[in-house]
C-alpha cells in the first residue's frame, strides 16, 4: 500500500506545474504577509505602517518590549504605570505640538503617550487584571450552576459547570506582545492558496485515470481497488498535509521574522481578543491546534473534490462543481457564531468552519445536545469525521464499482 501511495504522489503531485504553482504561491504568500506588515493592515489598524516616518516609533516599540517582555513583575507594572501617568499629565490639555521635543522617546510627547498607552499600558493592565476579571466570571458561573440546578435547567447548568471547570485558576504571569500572534491566527490568505492548489492537484486524481483509460488497467490488477480507493485518498491527505505544513511554516517564519513573535509559551488568553477562549493552551500550542483543525477541514474538502473527480471523466465538471462547493462551504462557515440553530448547523456541517478555528475558539461557543453543553468545535470535528467516512465510502463505490458476472463468478467492470 505504501508503494501505491508513493506512486500516486509521484503521479499526481510531483509534476512540474504543481510544484511550480506551489513555489509561486509560497513566495506570493510571504509577499502578502510582508505587504500587510509594511502597510499596517489588519486588526483594525492596530499596528502602524512600517515606513521611514515610523522608524523611530518602531525602534521605541521594540526597545520597550525588550525591556518589558518576560515575567510580569510589580516593577515593570509600576514603571509602565508611572510613565503612563506622567505622559497623561503632560498631554492633559489636549494640545498637540508638531515641533520635535527633546527628552522624549519618539520626539513628540503626544506620540509617546499614544505609544505607551496603546502598546504597553493597556495590554499590561489587561494582563495584570485578567486573573481578577476571570475569577468574577467563574464566581458568576458557580452561582449559575446552583441556580439552574434548583430549576432543573440541565443545559445552563452544564454550560456554567463547563465555564467553572475550564476558566478557573487562570492568570497571566507574563507580558509579551500578543497582537502579532493574533494577526497570525487571523491570517487566511494562505488558506485560499491551499484551496487553489487542492483544486489543481485533486480534481484530476480520478478523472485523469479515466481519460487515459488507466482505470480499466487498475481494476484488472490485484491491488487495483485498493489503489483506486485508499491509496489515492491517502495520497490526497499527504498532499494536503504537506501543503498545510509548508504554508503554516512559511507563515510562522515570516511573521516571526517581521513581527518578532515572542512568548510562544504564554497562555493564549494573554491575547486580549482571546480572553474568553475555552482552551487553556499556550500560544504555540494554540497555533498547532489551529493547524490540526485546518488539516481536518481541508481533508474533508479534499475528499469532496476526490468524489467529484470520481464522478466525472473530464476535469471541467469537477472543477466547476468544486469551486461552487467551496464558495457555498465558505459562505456556510460564516455562520459558525450564529445564534440561530439552523444557520449554526449549516456552518458546523461545512468543513470550512475548521479553517476558522480561531473564530470557533475566540469565545465560548456551544451547542445544546440532549441538554448537554458541547463545544461547537467538538461537534464540528465529529461531524467532519462522520462526513469523511461517508465520503470515503462513496468514493470507493464510484471509483471501483464492479459486480460479479452471474455465470462465471469473476468480477466484471460495470458496462462490460
Amino acid at each position: 500500500m505504501l508503494r501505491l501511495v508513493y506512486y500516486e504522489i509521484r503521479k499526481n503531485y510531483l509534476r512540474s506545474y504543481v510544484l511550480a504553482a506551489i513555489l509561486l504561491f509560497l513566495v506570493l504568500n510571504a509577499c502578502m504577509i510582508y505587504r500587510g506588515y509594511v502597510s499596517g493592515d489588519g486588526l483594525m489598524g492596530y499596528f502602524m505602517p512600517h515606513t521611514r516616518d515610523t522608524k523611530v516609533e518602531w525602534d521605541f516599540y521594540h526597545r520597550m518590549h525588550r525591556q518589558l517582555d518576560g515575567p510580569l513583575t510589580a516593577d515593570k507594572a509600576r514603571y509602565v504605570s508611572d510613565e503612563y501617568e506622567r505622559l497623561s499629565a503632560l498631554t492633559a490639555d489636549g494640545t498637540y505640538n508638531e515641533q520635535g521635543q527633546t527628552d522624549t522617546y519618539t520626539g513628540h510627547i503626544w506620540n509617546d503617550y499614544v505609544m505607551i498607552t496603546k502598546y504597553f499600558y493597556e495590554p499590561m493592565k489587561y494582563a495584570a487584571s485578567y486573573e481578577k476579571e476571570i475569577e468574577q466570571v467563574v464566581v458568576k458561573a458557580k452561582d449559575n450552576v446552583s441556580f439552574y440546578q434548583n430549576y432543573n435547567n440541565s443545559y445552563e447548568q452544564a454550560k456554567n459547570k463547563y465555564i467553572q471547570d475550564h476558566y478557573s485558576g487562570r492568570k497571566i504571569p507574563v507580558f509579551y506582545d500578543g497582537k502579532p500572534w493574533e494577526l497570525l491566527f487571523n491570517y487566511r490568505f494562505s488558506d485560499l492558496l491551499i484551496l487553489l492548489l487542492m483544486l489543481l492537484g485533486l480534481v484530476p486524481i480520478y478523472a485523469h485515470e479515466k481519460e487515459t483509460k488507466m482505470d480499466d488497467l487498475m481494476m484488472s490488477s490485484r491491488r487495483g481497488k485498493g489503489n483506486m480507493g485508499l491509496a489515492k485518498v491517502l495520497s490526497a491527505f499527504i498532499y494536503i498535509a504537506c501543503l498545510l505544513l509548508m504554508f503554516s511554516g512559511v507563515n510562522l517564519a515570516t511573521f516571526a521574522a517581521l513581527y518578532r513573535l515572542s512568548g510562544a509559551g504564554m497562555p493564549v488568553y494573554a491575547i486580549e481578543a482571546y480572553q474568553y477562549t475555552p482552551v487553556s493552551l499556550s500560544v504555540g500550542g494554540f497555533y498547532i491546534l489551529l493547524i490540526l483543525l485546518k488539516m481536518i477541514g481541508l481533508a474533508v474538502a479534499g475528499l469532496g473534490l476526490c468524489l467529484l473527480s470520481a464522478l466525472f471523466q473530464r476535469v471541467i465538471y469537477p472543477y466547476l462543481l468544486g469551486v461552487l462547493l467551496f464558495i457555498s462551504g465558505l459562505y456556510a462557515s460564516g455562520y459558525l457564531a450564529s445564534v440561530e440553530a439552523g444557520y449554526m448547523v449549516w456552518a458546523l456541517v461545512s468543513p470550512f468552519s475548521l479553517l476558522k478555528g480561531h473564530e470557533l475558539l475566540i469565545d465560548l461557543l456551544g451547542v445544546n445536545i440532549g441538554y448537554t453543553f458541547v463545544l461547537r468545535l467538538t461537534v464540528c470535528v465529529i461531524l467532519q469525521l462522520i462526513i469523511s467516512i461517508v465520503l470515503y465510502g462513496v468514493i470507493r463505490l464510484f471509483s471501483t464499482s464492479s459486480r460479479f458476472s452471474r455465470s462465471t463468478g469473476f468480477a466484471v467492470k460495470e458496462g462490460a
Binding site: Y17, A21, L28, M32, G45, Y96, W110, N111, V114, V137, V138, K140, A141, D143, N144, F147, Y148, Y151, N152, N153, Y155, E156, N160, I163, R188, F189, D191, L192, L196, L199, L200, V203, P204, E211, Y276, R314, V315, I316, Y319, L320, V323, L324, I327, L330, Y331, S333, G334, Y335, A337, S338, V339, E340, Y343, E359, D363, L364
Partner: protein, 630 residues
Amino acid sequence: MLYPEWHKLLIKQKGLLILGLMILIKIALTLQQGYDSSLIINRNPEGYAAYMNQYEGKLTAEKEQRLQAEYYAVVHAGAELDELARQWKDGEITQEAYESSSKQYYERMKNSAVFNVIYNQYYYAKEAPEERYLMDERGWSTLLGHSKPDFVLLLSLIIVLTPLFCHEYESGMDALLLSSSRGKYRTGAAKLVIGAMLAMIVTMIFTFIEYLCLDGMIGLPHGSFPLQSLEFFANSEYPVTLKQAFLALLLIRIVGAVLFAGCIACVGILSKRSIITLFTCSVLIFLPYILFPEKSLLYYLPLPSGLLAGTGYLWGTVYESAYSDQGTVEKFVKFQAIGRGVFLLLMIGYIVEIALLYLYSLKKYSRYMLRSRLRYKKQTKLPLPLSLLIIGFLILTGCDSRGKVEDVFSFDAGELRNYGETAEYAIQLDEEQSLITARHLATGEEILLTREPFRQEGMISTIFVRDDWCYYVTQTLGKEGIRIYGIDLKNFHQKLIYNSLRENTEDFFGLVSEQQDMEQISRNISPVYSLILNPNYIYYVVDAELVQIQRSTGREKVIARDVRAGLALAYYNGAIYYIDHQYRLNVYKELDGKVHPLESIYTDQFHIKNGELQYRSLLDDKRLQSYDLP
C-alpha cells in the same frame, strides 16, 4: 468553420447547458443580493418616493425655495403641532380647525426621517447644481458604484472557454486539425473569434441581467441625469449621463471579456491541459481582486480583472474616514481616480494587448507557419416567470393569519416597557446596566435573569413579560438589526425568538469586505422603545414607527409611522392602541391589518384595564373617560 466550432463548443461540449445553469445562478444571486439602500428609506419607501417625486431633477431656484420651506416646516412640525394642540385644548380653536390644521404637521412628522435623507441629497446637489441632480440613487448606485467582480460570469467564461483548445489536445485531434487545410489557420482563428464573441455575448447578458433585475427591484429612473448626481461619483471627471456611464461600463467589460478569452485561449494552447488552464486562469482573474481590493492599481494591471470590474475607471477619488492617533476623524484616500487621458491610454494599451495576445495564440496554435494562401470567400429588470414565481412565493409565505383565535391579553407599554409581572415574579429592567432582575413576589428574593458570566452582548432596550416568559430586545452599537430573547420563568431557560442582525462573517478572503468606516460605526442606532409578542406576531416601536414581525417567516413590516414618542401604547386582544402625532388614539387590528383612528378620542394618556380603555380626553378638559374595547 465558425458554425462547426460553435456547434462543438455549445452542444457537444455542453457549453450551452453550463451557460444556462450559470445564468440561472446569476439571476438568483442578483435578486438575493438586492440593492444598496438605507434603513431609513427601507422603513418608509412610500414617504421617500412621495418626496422624491416632488423634488427630483435639476435644482432650480424655485425648487430650492420649496425645499427650504419644507425643511423649515418639518423641523418645526412637532412644535407647531404641540402649539395647535395647546390652542385646541385651551379652546382657542375648534376641534375641526385643529384636525384640519394639524394634518400637515402630522404628515410631516411621519415622513421627517426620509425628508432628512432627501435634504442631505439636496445639500450635496447644491454644491454643483449643473452637474448634480436630485434623484433616487439606489438602483444606479448599486449598478455603477461597486467594483466587485462578477464571479458567476468569470467562472462561466473559464469553464466554457477552457475546452475550446484544451479538448483538441487532450483528445489527440490537434494533429488532425493542424494537418488539414482549414484546420491549421482557419480553425484556429475561428476558435479565437468564437471565444471572443462568446465572451462578449455572455458579458452582455450578465450585465443586462443586473440591469433588468435592479430595474425590476428598485427601478433605474432618469438615466439621462448626469453621473455626478450619484454622491459616490461626486469627484468623477466624466461629463456623461447615467445611461452613458452604463454603456461605457458595458463596453469596458466587453473589452475585459475579450482579453480574458484571449488569456484562456493562450494558456490552453501553451499548456494543452484543461486542469492547468482552469487553474491558471482562475488565479489570473481572481487573485488581483484579493491582492488589490478596491485599489486603483487593479485598473492599471495588464490583466482582465480591472476591465471586468469596470466601474473603477469612472470613479472619482474616493475617501475613507478613520480615527487618527490624535483621536480626530480624518479622511484618507481609499481610491485614487484614473484620469481621462490615462484611461484612454490604458484602453489603447488593452486593445493592443488583445491584438498581440490573439496573434500570438494563433501562431502558437498553428505551430509551423506555412504561407497561407489568402482566399476571399463568402463564407452568424427580470425574467418574468421567475420573478412571478418569487413574488408568488413571497406573497404566499407572507399571508397573515387572519381569522385565527384572538389573543386576550393586555399590555401597556407606557407602564410596562421596563417592567412586568407574572403570578410569581416582578420583572425589572435596568437599562443602564442592561440587567433584568426578577423579584419573587412571595419571598422577596431577587433573581438575576441575565446571567451571562461573560460580557453581555449588546444593550437591552426593553422587556415584555407574559405567560411566564420574559422577552427582551438587544441591540449592538453600530449594527443594524435586533435580537429578541425569551426567558422561561419556570426554569430560566433562554431561547432566541427573533434575530435580524446580519451574522455572516465570511468575507471570501477580502473579496466581499463589509468593513465599515468610522462614520458608519459611530452612527447611533435608535433604541427600541417597546416590545409586544403574541403567538403570531412581534411588535416593536422604534423612533415613531410601529413595526410588525411575522413570527413564522421573520418578515418585518412598518405598520405605523406616527407613534408619538414617550406616550402610551397598549396591546389588547389582537389590537395595538397608540397615540399619534395629532394626539388621536389609533388602533391597529391584526384581523384586517389596518390602522384606524378612533374617532373623537383625542388623548395624551390612556391605559387598558379589565377590557376597558381609560383615557384622558383632550376634548373634555382632560377628564377621564372610558371606551369599551371589543
